[in-house]
Structures are given as C-alpha cells and as structure tokens.
Symmetry: C2
Subunit: 112 residues, 2 copies
DNA sequence: AACACTATTCTGCGATACTATATACCAGTA
DNA sequence: TACTGGTATATAGTATCGCAGAATAGTGTT
C-alpha cells in the first residue's frame, strides 16, 4: 500500500511506542518491524525523527550497546511516562477508529 | 476526546468526502456532522480548509444557494474524481486500521 | 584498500489541522 | 434604528508530523 503518508500521521509514533514496549529495541530494528507489519515504505529517517521525539519528551530510557555487525546501537525502553503515553495512544486510537468505522457503516442523521 | 489532532490528519478529509457523498451539503453543516460524530473540537475553519482543498483538486461540484437564515451556502457534491478519491480513502483506511489493530493484538516476531 | 552491510544522524520540505480573526447575511428584540 | 445571536464563508499565520536524501560511522570480507 502506497501513499498512506498522511494517514500515518499521529499513529506511527504510537506504533513505535508499542513496539518498544514489547522489549528493548533500536531504531533500525523498529523500522524493520514496521516494514514487516506492512508499512513497507517506512524508512530509517522517519523512525529516527520519532525516536528523537520520544527522547526529547522523556518517554524512553536509552542504553547504547556495541554490535559486532556495525556501529553501536541505541536501545530504547519505555519509562513510566512512555507507558502512559502508549495507553493514551490506544485510547485515542480506539475512539477515532470506532468513530470512523461508525461513519463508514452508518446512515447520517439529516436535518429537515 | 481531546488532543486527537494529529491522529485526524489524513482521515478528516476522507470523513468530509464520505459526508458529502451522502448528499449535497455545505461547510457549516459538515462541521456539525463531524461534531455529532464525536469530533467535538472540529471548527469551521478546519473544515473550510478541507473543502477548499477539495475544490482545488476538482473533487467536488459546487452550487451556491440562498438561505433564509444567513448568508448564501456553498453546496458540495462529489464528482467522479471525488468518488474515486473516497473509494481509495476507504481502501487505505482498511489497510492501515487493520495493520494497527494487528500490531495492537499480536505478538511481535523477535529475531534470535 | 576497497567494498558491502549495518545503523545512526542530520536537515529541509510539503501536507495537514488548528488558532484567531474578519466579513457578511438574516431574524428577533428593545 | 441599534443591538444581539446564529449562520456561513474566507484568510493569514503557526505547529506538528512523516518523508526524502544524504552524510557519517562501525564491522567484516575480499
């Protein structure tokens, strides 16, 4: 699926939070998870801007570890604030997606 | 529900297209529909920028009609291009929302 | 050395929704 | 007449977010 850029706004960060919540991981690996999920066009730069934002907002803890296959990796884990942010994200997601599916399936009340 | 601004990016236009597809309507009324749907914080200005975009992209036909309760209304109907855009929107929505719900519910494959 | 692969970092851009405001039209009321 | 409130379009400016594209940096292989 292509050209879903705009539709990903506001949800990609939530997806990254969710992925990090499953266990410590780093940017490059997050990108691969997203691609496997089906968001095949996501590139490293995009994920980088998100992880940078998570750092800036103090939602993650960071640990740098050496790798045998390349430069050091920055491993992320969610801290308490990050977990709260993730919970809030899913609440918003449920709300918005329910409303949109409602619109998709239901008749609209028309005024006289 | 508040602060869902970013999550609405990319879907609000689709919602407006869907609302117009149900029958000719105008900006102010579209805003009210969205508010009734649950997007209570959507304001006229936001919808206006969307309808202007639809006009610019030639997705709607326009008819100006007088009103007994205020200034003239600009009624919109979807043209063929608009209907195609709407179909594409729902395809993208189904794709994205399925993927995200998948992420929400499933385990992630972890590599060794 | 040269190359391939992994991985992070950086910067500027375009698209979108929001804020705030201005303008205009009409009805009802004092 | 003047005022108020609801209806309705229009516009300028701002912030956020994902993307494109490239640079940089380690490590192992040839």
């Amino acid at each position: 699926m292509e050209h879903i850029t705009e539709m990903l706004k506001g949800v990609l960060e939530g997806c990254v939070l969710e992925i990090i919540s499953r266990g410590e991981t780093y940017g490059y690996e997050i990108t691969q998870h997203l691609r496997e999920l089906g968001f095949t066009d996501v590139v490293e730069g995009t994920v980088y801007t998100i992880t940078m934002r998570l750092e800036k907002h103090n939602l993650v803890d960071i640990e740098k570890k050496r790798s045998t296959v390349g430069p050091p990796r920055k491993f992320y884990t969610l801290n308490e604030a990050g977990k709260e942010k993730l919970d809030t994200f899913w609440e918003k997601w449920d709300f918005v997606s329910n409303k949109i599916n409602e619109l998709k399936s239901k008749e609209i009340k028309r005024r006289g």
